[in-house]
Symmetry: C2
Amino acid sequence: MQPARREALIKAAIEEVGTVGLVDVTVSRIARRAGVSSALAHHYLGSKDDILQAAMRRILTDYGEAVREAYRTAKDPRARIDAVIRSSFCEGQFDRAVIGAWLTFYVQAHHSAEASRLLSIYARRLDSNLVHALRSLVPLSSARRIAQGLASMIDGFYIRAALQEGAPDRTYAIAMVTEYLDLCLEKELA
Amino acid sequence: MQPARREALIKAAIEEVGTVGLVDVTVSRIARRAGVSSALAHHYLGSKDDILQAAMRRILTDYGEAVREAYRTAKDPRARIDAVIRSSFCEGQFDRAVIGAWLTFYVQAHHSAEASRLLSIYARRLDSNLVHALRSLVPLSSARRIAQGLASMIDGFYIRAALQEGAPDRTYAIAMVTEYLDLCLEKELA
DNA sequence: GATAATCTTGATTGACCAGTCAATTAGAAT
DNA sequence: ATTCTAATTGACTGGTCAATCAAGATTATC
C-alpha cells in the first residue's frame, strides 16, 4: 500500500499545486484529491514541506527521464540537441497542471534553499547537455552562447504556454526553438 | 500623508513579495517594512488582496512607462523594436526583488482572475508593439511569428535572470535578444 | 479463529493571520 | 483654549491549517 499511496499523493500534490497554486494548497486538499485523509498524507510523506519537495523532485526526475529516453535514439550531436528540445515540450511535461506546478516551484526556488538546489541541478544538466552537443558543431564560446539562448527560449515558451490563452502548442514551440537553433548554426558556419 | 503611505506600502509589498514570496508574505511584514502597523496598511489599501493587486498594478504601470519613455526617441520601426527589448531589461525592471515579484504574479495569474486580466493586458500590449513595428519590415504572418519568438525569449531571459546565480546581465540579455531579431530579419529579407 | 501488523481516520491542539474597532495622539482651524 | 479632523495603533476575534495521537478498521499470518 505504501508505494501506491505515496504515488497517488505526489501526483495529487502536483495537480493541486498546478491548479490552485502554492498559496492555496493545503495538505487536506492534496489528500482529498488522492482520496485519503490528511493524516495519512502526513503519515506517508511527512510534513507539508516534505510533500511539496517530493512533488518537485518528481517533476524533475520525470523530465530527466524524458531527456534520457529521447537521447537513446539520438546518434549524432544535432540529434541530441533536437532531443533536448523535444523533451522539454514532450507530452508528459507540456500539461497545464504540470507546467503550473513547474513554474510555481521555479519561482519558489527564489526563497527556498532546497528548491533552489534541486532546480540548479536541472539547469546545469540542461545547459551541460546542450553545450556538450553544440561544441562538436561550433567553438566552445559559441556553444555556450547558443545554449544560453536555447535554454532561455525554451523556458520562455514554457512559461507562456502556461498562461497565455491562445498560446503556441507543443509542435509550434518546438518548431520555433529549432528554427532559432538553425539560424544560430547557419550564422556560425557561414 | 495618505499618498506617501500608499506609496511606501506598495513599494514594501513588491519588495516583500520579491524576497519572501507570496506564500510567506503577511500584511504585518509588508507594514513593518514600510514602518507602520498592519492596521494602517488595511486602512489605506484595504484587504490583503487589494494590497497585492496594487503592487502588481504598480509593476505593470512602471513597465508601461518604461516602454513609453523608450518609444519617445524611437523614430523608425527597428528603433521601436529595440526600444521594447531594452525596456524589458531596463534598470528599474531588472532588479532582483522586482523580478521575483513579477514572476510571482506571473504564476499567480494561473489562479487569480484579476491577476490574469492585468497580465493579459501587458502581454497584448507587448505583442501588439512588436507586431506593429515588425509588420513594416516583414509580412504580417512573419511579424507575428517573430514577435512570439522575441517575447518568449525576453520572458526566458527574464525568468532566468531571477534565479540562476551566474545569470546573464542586462547587457548580455539585450544583446542575445537583439541578435535573434537580426537573424530573423536577415532570413526574412534574404 | 486468534493475534499481530498495517492501514486509516476523527478529533484535538497550538500557532498564525486577516481584518476590525475602540481608543489615543497629533495637527489644523477657529 | 477648544473643537474638529486625520493618522495611528494595540488588542481582539474568528477562522484556518499543520501536525499529532489514540483508537478503530482491515488485512495478513499462524
